[in-house]
């Protein structure tokens, strides 16, 4: 059982609260850096996907988990980032310029989407973002002159400062690096006034406003930042799959992105990473399990059923997500044998009207 004895303000601000954290995260960093030498090609590919979806997860976590907004249309930002990168690269723009450009373009759209958020709450905001997604998808499909419509666009490997990043390891390091930067940026944000303002908006808009938080500025900022991160992920995604078309960015994709946040654990930075990992790993597990099931139970239906069941089960039994479950396990181990069963029990309550929030 570890007690943190605080003696100066720095301890509240530091990223690593104690030596143990530094050790474990350091170990994780070493493992991740050594991955190309330890893992095979398939695992490397999955790790790249996990990095990409982690960045999206971080973006969504910022918006949903920390600012309390809803977005059922984030695939649109993924699309904007991907198409921006594809189109800019086709015109010979270097990666070091096209990536920030993709992020900025996504951020601009995110800012625009954030404007209705000032007046809309809850389900209305969800439907507005949903509508946004559908409209963007349709625009991309119809604007064939620019985007090649349903025939899609191809991408060449990234060229960074003269180096061609077409190997597994080099692309992986790029993804890993960007993921690390995203995590760091988010953590920095959370320990500074802007991050606190976001959390204040999530928990009580009225009192946040009365404490001096400009709701308009911060809500649109949250949307813009979230969209920017997703745009970066979109650019990476485009290079990963090397071929993009509008049907990769549908509403179903948006819903999958939201499940990253829910399965990982709403409100925890780790949740974004865990959720992304789970989302990538789940289909593999299902494929493995199919070998043990009778022959006629199968097809794409199984994946949908398992996905839906997992989502429902998590929400009912583990609302704090994967990271929440990990926290409970860790506390159980720390407090052993004094762990109390009811520590995390939710109170049974009658429905509280959200219309009046």
């Amino acid at each position: 059982m570890r007690f943190l004895f605080k003696t100066d303000y720095e301890q509240d601000i530091r990223l690593f609260k104690h030596g143990g954290q530094r050790f474990w995260y350091g170990l994780l960093a070493l493992l991740l850096l050594a991955a190309p030498y330890l893992a095979g090609e398939y695992l490397m590919s999955q790790l790249q996907f996990i990095c990409i979806y982690s960045i999206v997860g971080l973006g969504l976590m910022l918006l949903v988990g920390f600012t309390g907004q809803i977005s059922l249309g984030h695939a649109a930002f993924l699309a904007i980032g991907a198409y921006a990168e594809a189109l800019l690269q086709a015109r010979g723009v270097p990666f070091l310029v096209s990536l920030p450009a993709a992020a900025l373009l996504s951020a601009a759209f995110g800012w625009v989407v954030g404007l209705p958020a000032l007046r809309l709450k809850g389900i209305y905001l969800a439907i507005a973002t949903l509508a946004f997604n559908v409209i963007i998808e349709e625009v991309i499909t119809r604007w064939e002159g620019l985007t090649n419509g349903n025939s899609g666009l191809h991408l060449k490997p990234i060229e960074l400062a003269g180096l061609k990043l077409d190997g597994d390891a080099s692309f992986y390091y790029l993804c890993l690096g960007l993921t690390g930067l995203a995590v760091l940026a988010l953590l920095n944000l959370l320990r500074s006034p802007t991050g606190r303002a976001f959390v204040a908006i999530r928990d009580s808009e009225i009192s946040a406003s009365c404490m001096g938080v400009n709701l308009a500025t911060y809500k649109t900022m949250s949307f813009a930042l979230s969209a920017a991160l997703t745009g970066v992920a979109g650019a990476l995604y485009a290079h990963k799959v090397t071929f993009i078309s509008p049907e990769q960015f549908t509403l179903l994709q948006s819903i999958e992105l939201v499940t990253i946040v829910i399965l990982g654990g709403v409100g925890f930075v780790h949740g974004a990473i865990l959720g992304a990992a789970f989302l990538i790993v789940l289909p593999q597990l299902i494929s493995l399990a199919k070998d043990y099931l009778p022959a006629d139970v199968g097809g794409t239906g199984l994946q949908a059923v398992v996905f839906g069941l997992v989502l429902v089960a998590f929400i009912i039994f583990e609302p704090l997500g994967l990271y929440g479950r990990w926290l409970k396990i860790r506390i159980w181990l720390e407090l052993f044998p004094f762990y109390r069963r009811g520590m995390f029990r939710r109170q049974k309550s009658y429905m509280k009207s959200e219309r009046l929030r």
């Binding site: 601000i13 944000l189 006034p193 009225i206 404490m211 709701l215 409100g267």
Partner: protein
């Protein structure tokens, strides 16, 4: 020049006139209390001053500048802070984080600096922590500093709410029923704090209160409301002796 003035303030919700042409002035450095039976419109006036509801008539002046049309966060920037009757704290954050939000209007760092967490941001953070620590000392909240608000007892949460308002370093503090739900000891503490706030911190206090003992003890001037209208104003003793006030609370003599 007046410190805080309200002129003919009124609001109607549909056909119901909740506040009807109320005017009063709060001199700097005083504790001004609004009393009245339930439903008199006291908290509504607070919501009007805090610009959460838009007034249908009347104007509000702070240091002779009209603030009637501003947004709540602008009002906070000007130095007016408030507490809420039904505690509006940030439940999933610690007491410390709640108080730090109060420092929001004193932030000096930009988004890009915060994303990179430059040394300037670090310095700003340490300064904020120090300022908040002063509030924690003032209100004896030290042992709750790192506790999540959601698990704290009601009395402590009211104090945290007060602390958060104080953390903004306001010039005018609006307290909405500071002693509701508190036991006699906690009410006593609250009375001491309000006196200290007025005397040592030099903050002007405008409050709504039901507890007449507390009102008599700390207030300089009292305004009595009934059914949205002002019916008496004066020192606590004057107002409590006013026949119209007695009638409002206790009803007409048979």
């Amino acid at each position: 020049m007046s410190f805080f003035r309200v002129e003919n303030l009124g609001i109607r919700f549909g056909g119901v006139v909740a506040v009807d042409k109320v005017s009063f002035e709060v001199p700097r450095g005083q504790v001004f209390t609004i009393i009245g039976p339930n439903g008199a419109g006291k908290t509504t006036i607070f919501n009007l001053i805090g610009l959460i509801y838009p007034a249908t008539e009347g104007r509000i002046f702070f240091e002779d500048e009209e603030i009637s049309g501003l947004t709540p966060h602008r009002v906070a920037d000007l130095g007016i802070a408030r507490t809420f009757q039904n505690i509006e704290l940030f439940e999933h954050a610690t007491v410390l984080q709640n108080l730090l939000i109060g420092r929001h209007r004193h932030r000096r760092t930009a988004l890009w600096q915060e994303l990179l967490f430059l040394p300037s941001v670090r310095r700003a953070e340490l300064a904020q922590r120090e300022a908040v620590e002063k509030v924690i000392d003032f209100l004896d909240l030290a042992k709750y500093r790192d506790s999540l608000v959601a698990g704290l007892p009601y009395g402590v949460r009211k104090v945290v709410e007060l602390g958060r308002a104080l953390a903004t370093e306001p010039r005018l503090l609006l307290l909405d029923e500071p002693s509701s739900g508190l036991n006699p000891e906690e009410t006593d503490d609250m009375a001491f704090w309000i006196e200290d706030i007025r005397r040592h911190l030099g903050i002007t206090v405008l409050m709504v209160e039901h507890d007449m003992n507390l009102v008599s003890r700390v207030s300089d001037r009292v305004l009595a409301l009934n059914m949205g209208m002002a019916i008496a104003e004066g020192t606590p003793a004057e107002v409590q002796a006013n026949p119209a006030v007695i009638e409002a609370y206790l009803g007409k003599a048979a």
